[in-house]
Every structure is written in C-alpha cells, then in structure tokens.
C-alpha cells in the first residue's frame, strides 16, 4: 500500500512529463489496436468470403478426393454419415454438394461451366445463392430441371432467363452426361471466376445429370463457432472411417489463404513493433530522467534504511501505473473507433474495388471487434514498458547513497 501511495504521488510530481509519457502510450495503443482491428477485419472478410460462403469450415470427402478431384472419388450420401456429423454439437449445418465440369451451350454459343449441385435450402447457409440472385427466381425443389447461372455466364452464352441451357459432360465412371435445363435465374458472387462459369442446379438433378445417384463430392460444414474448427475436425476424424472419408479444415482446403494472412499479419506486426519500440525509448528516457532528478532523494532513502528492492518496487509501480493508465485509455479510445468501422465498413470504389473483387473479396472493409486484438495490444505495451524499465530500475537500485547525495 505504501509503495502504491508513493508511486501514485510521485507520478504527479511532474504532471506534464507523466501526461506526455501517458499520451505516447495512449496513441501507440490506439494506433496499434485500430490497425490490428482493420487488419483482422480484412482477414475475417477474406476468411468469410472464402470459407463462410464457399468452402465451409470443414469438408468431408471420399478418401482421396482432394488429391484427385474426379467423380469417381465421390462419396455415397447416407443417413448414418449425416447422423455422425450431427453428433457434433458445434456443427450448425451440413451442406452437400456435387461438383463437376461440363460444357454449357445456349442457342449459338457454348462455354466451359462449373456445375454445382446444391441442396436449395441447405446451401443458403453457405453460399446463400437465394440472396445473391440478380434476376429470375430461386430453385424450389431438389429435383427440378432448372439452373441458376453466373451473371457473366448469361452474357457469355448470350441467353436470357427462361431460355434453355444444354449441358454436356462426363458423368460417374466415364458415363456420358447430357441434359437440357431451364435457366431460372442469375446469381452474382464476389468472385468473378464464379460469375463467369458457375451453373447451379438442384442436387438430385445434378446427380441424375452426372449419373451419380446419391453421390456427393463434398459435405461442407458450417460451425456455430469458427474457433471450434480443429476440435470438431479431430472428433470427426475419430468417428468417421479414415479409409472411406477425409476430413479437412478450411486451413487445409485453402492453404494459400492462410499463408497470405500470415504474411500480411507478420508485416503488420513489424510495423507495430517499430511503433512500440519508439514508444519504449520514450519511456526509457522518462524513467532515466525520473531517476536522475531524484537520485539525491533515493540516496537519502537508502541512507535511512530503505531496502534497494523497495526503491526498485516503487519505481516499477510508477512505470506500471503509467503503462496501465496509458494502455487502458488507449484501449477505451480504440474500441469505439473499431466499433464504428465495424458497423460502417470502409467501402472501396473504383480501381480498388475492382482489385478486391478480382481476388474474390467484397469491396468492404469492416474492422474486427475480436477481443484479442485489443487486449493483445495492452499486454504488449505492458511487457515493452517493463522491459524498457529494467535498466533504469536496476540503475536506481544500485545507487551509492554517498555519490547520489553528492551529485
């Protein structure tokens, strides 16, 4: 209690210096937290675009499918498989898909197409095509002979909603696959490649087209908490036969996404570390000044019997109080800033928007409100403050009282 009282009062002996030091910490924490919030928000968008709306957090395939993505490596849909998936409490939705490639032909033109058989209801939890409809109407049943096509695909084929579309391809085990379907609507995804080539059809229609009844290329899982990915994948690997099924997390499905996030995060952390080191040297200067101007006082304190450890503890407490208040205020200020940009994401336009869309991202940048973004900064500044305080504290605790009082 005595140390806290002493430290607190000492802080306000030189009010201006304390405030300047504190403000430097506030600004550093504020900038770092807002920058990290922006970065993490960007990653969340990237993950959400790729994972939340396309791959899912976990996918289950027939063993070997990921290595060799052919219809011959599809899995057989079964109630027992769904039952085992539903045993996982973290699984919110299991979304079946049957994907292949075919040639799509309109009246005069034909284009390569990515055929995706979807469950019209379940798929809304993943790529949400109903809300991405640009024209026409959504699929009603799992067996209707209708398709939705990408917004650019319809132009590339020079067809309209209501026209017929012919699909020609290769089905399960090399069987011929042909079909004639009504174009029921167009869908628009952030990923331009999908817009150019996707043809979505009800899953049973796709199974019929590809001569692959009850067969799926993947079951994508939506989780109620993305943090449960690894645990859920591990549990599924334990419950499903490894000879028949492969269970892959989104990090395994999209390693290039993970790497690009890690690389970007690394560069962001380097910038923040430079900022923190500058602040750290500011703190070092403050603490050295605190000690130099109080060396006589420390000399008197040691002379009258104050243990050196007590003086070090008192100084440490002063520095901790500055760091604690600076970090706290910095965090308190950064949260509303991040909150505002989370609710009102920065919207890109022009070339930047096109670049983002070309990467399959929506041209919006909402800031992250993930708690670790904020408390992580406070912890880092706390550690840096302590590290930069060690030298002065050691110096103070080794003061020779006679020399200190002579100075």
């Amino acid at each position: 209690m005595l140390y806290i009282k002493l430290a607190w009062r000492n802080l306000w002996r030189n009010r201006r210096r304390t405030l300047i030091t504190m403000v430097s910490i506030v600004v550093a924490v504020l900038l770092a937290a807002v920058m990290r919030s922006m970065q993490e928000g960007q990653y969340e968008v990237m993950i959400d675009t790729t994972v939340g709306s396309f791959t899912g957090y976990i996918q289950i395939h027939q063993q070997g499918y990921w290595e060799d993505k052919t219809l011959d490596n599809t899995l057989v849909e079964s109630d027992s498989l769904y039952a085992k998936i539903q045993q996982q409490s973290s699984v919110e939705e299991a979304v079946p898909r049957l994907e292949s490639f075919a040639l799509a032909a309109g009246k005069n033109l034909s284009r390569p197409a990515m055929v995706m058989g979807i469950h019209p209801q379940a798929e809304q939890a993943l790529s949400d095509p109903k809300n991405r409809l640009q024209s026409g109407s959504y699929l009603d049943t799992s067996d209707e002979h209708s398709v939705l096509i990408g917004r650019e695909m319809i132009q590339r084929l020079n067809v309209q909603v209501g026209d017929s579309l012919v699909l020609i391809g290769q089905g399960f085990r090399g069987q011929r696959a042909t079909g004639l379907y009504e174009i029921k609507g167009t869908v628009s995804f952030p990923n331009p490649e999908l817009n150019r080539s996707i043809v979505m059809m009800p899953i049973q229609t796709a199974q019929e087209f590809l001569a692959a009844p009850n067969r799926l290329t993947s079951i994508s899982l939506i989780l109620n908490n993305p943090d449960n990915v690894n645990k859920t994948a591990k549990d599924l690997r334990n419950s499903l036969s490894p000879d028949r099924y492969e269970v892959m997390t989104w990090q395994e499905l999209a390693p290039e996404l993970v790497q690009s996030i890690q690389a970007d995060r690394g560069s962001g952390i380097i910038i923040i570390m430079i900022l923190y080191i500058i602040v750290g040297f500011g703190i070092l200067g403050t603490v050295l000044m605190m000690i130099t101007e109080r060396s006589y006082e420390f000399g008197v304190m040691i002379s009258v019997g104050t243990p050196r450890l007590t003086i070090a503890a008192m100084l440490a407490m002063e520095i901790l109080l500055i760091a604690f208040m600076g970090s706290g205020i910095g965090l308190l200020l950064s949260i509303p800033v991040a909150w505002y940009f989370n609710i009102n994401p920065i919207e890109f336009s022009g070339n930047m928007a096109e670049v983002m869309e070309s990467y399959g991202l929506e041209p919006f940048l909402p800031f992250s409100l993930s708690p670790e973004v904020f408390y992580g900064q406070a912890i880092i500044i706390f550690i840096i403050t302590l590290v930069f305080s060690i030298i002065p504290i050691v110096k103070a605790s080794k003061l020779n009282p006679v020399n200190a009082m002579r100075a």
Binding site: L6, V300, S303, V304, G305, R308
Partner: protein
C-alpha cells in the same frame, strides 16, 4: 561501553589515480549520550568520517565498530538493515520524501521496520509533537520552512529508536532563529532521552552547544576537547 569505535580508519579516494587522503588513521570512541561535534575546515574529512560511522561509506583501512558490530563484516543489504534499526540520520537539506506529509515521512522509517501502521502513525504524531510540529503533521515538505523540515528529519531519525543520530551540518541552511530552535530541541532530546548525537558542522552555534568537540585537520584528529559531562 562505547557506542561507536573507529580504529585507524583511513579513507583514500581515487586511489588508482591521484590519491586523496580524506582520513588518515582516525581513532575515535563515542560513548552513549554524547553530544559531539566534529569540526574542521572544508576537506578535513568530517562528512567522510560521518559517512563511515553511518555505514554509508567504507574505510580503505581500519574498522568501524558500532554497538559491537564491525560494519566491514556486513553486506550491503545487512548494512541497510543495520542503519534502519540502529542509526538515525539528519542531512544538511532535502532530507524528506517530497510527496509524503510530515507524519508520513516520520512514519516511513517505522513502516520499513515492519511495525504496525497504527503504531507508526501514533508514534509519528507523538514525535512531531515532541519537536513542536503538532500543527504541521499533514503538511508536505514544500509547505514547511527549512527549520521545520529539519525538525521533521530529527523526528524521523528518532522514530526508528536508533542507538545514535548522525547529523551532517544540520543547520547549514537555516537562519539563526531556526538553528537555535533545532539545537535546543536536539539538546533537550539528548538530556531527556539520553540520545547520542554526532554532528559534523562549521556552525559556531552548534560547536558552542556541543559537549565534546573533535577537530579534524587534513584527515587526522587534531584536537579532542570534552567540555561538559554527558548525560
């Protein structure tokens, strides 16, 4: 029995370059209850001798024995603890912790000794009353005059129940009235409580009040005059 004994204490500064002999074989015994002034011209070694007696500095040669303890055998932390429990200090100026009030400054040393807070507070108030500052207990050093600050320093020096008080030119920055009052107070404590005081001083008023005057010249005892019986 002597409270303090120095045996052939020698102190040489900068011994590896140009040696400066601050003390040259000082032998001194201070008995309990003495009111002793160590005097001499500037550079004669007064403060060095006081620092060595107080365990703030170590002699180059010789021994300092305080209450039977050879200070050279103590480690740095043991010396700090020894000072805390056995020696009271009053310095020339800026004695007090600026952010603590008078009562907190006096209490500080007792708290360092680990005494209960309430005891520290009560004892501090009683000591401040003893030095005539009962109406200033909650004032910070910046709100006290130089003389009042020195009185608080004396109260703090006494708070640890020391064997003796070392005062290094305690009146150097005081006017004659404040000096007189401070000396009266210390003389009274010496008389009433048998507290041993050792001063280093240039101040003739202090020298006039001392019962024993030890004169140092060039680091040696030039004269040791006992003027009155100690209490």
């Amino acid at each position: 029995m002597a409270v303090i004994t120095t045996k052939s204490v020698t102190k040489v500064y900068n011994s590896d370059k140009v040696p400066v002999h601050a003390l040259r074989g000082v032998d001194l015994n201070i008995e309990k209850g003495e009111f002793t002034a160590i005097v001499g011209p500037s550079g004669s070694g007064k403060t060095t001798l006081l620092n060595i007696i107080g365990g703030l500095d170590t002699p180059t040669e010789g021994k300092t024995i305080v209450q039977g303890t050879d200070l050279s055998t103590l480690s740095d932390s043991e010396l700090i603890n020894f000072r805390l429990h056995h020696i009271g200090f009053v310095f020339q100026a800026y004695n007090l912790i600026p952010v603590l009030t008078a009562v907190e400054n006096v209490s500080f040393v007792m708290q360092m000794q680990g005494r209960p807070n309430k005891e520290c507070h009560n004892k501090s108030i009683s000591l401040l009353k003893e030095v005539g500052l009962e109406d200033k207990i909650n004032k910070r050093p910046s709100e006290l005059s130089g003389g009042q600050q020195q009185r608080v320093a004396v109260a703090r020096a006494l708070a640890s129940k020391p064997d003796f008080v070392l005062a290094d030119e305690p009146t150097a920055n005081l006017d004659s009235v404040s000096s007189g009052e401070l000396l009266d107070m210390m003389a009274e404590l010496n008389q009433k409580e048998e507290m041993t005081f050792i001063f280093s001083t240039h101040d003739q008023r202090v020298i006039d009040r001392a019962h024993r005057v030890v004169t140092l010249v060039d680091g040696k005892i030039d004269n040791d005059e006992v003027r009155a019986q100690t209490v």
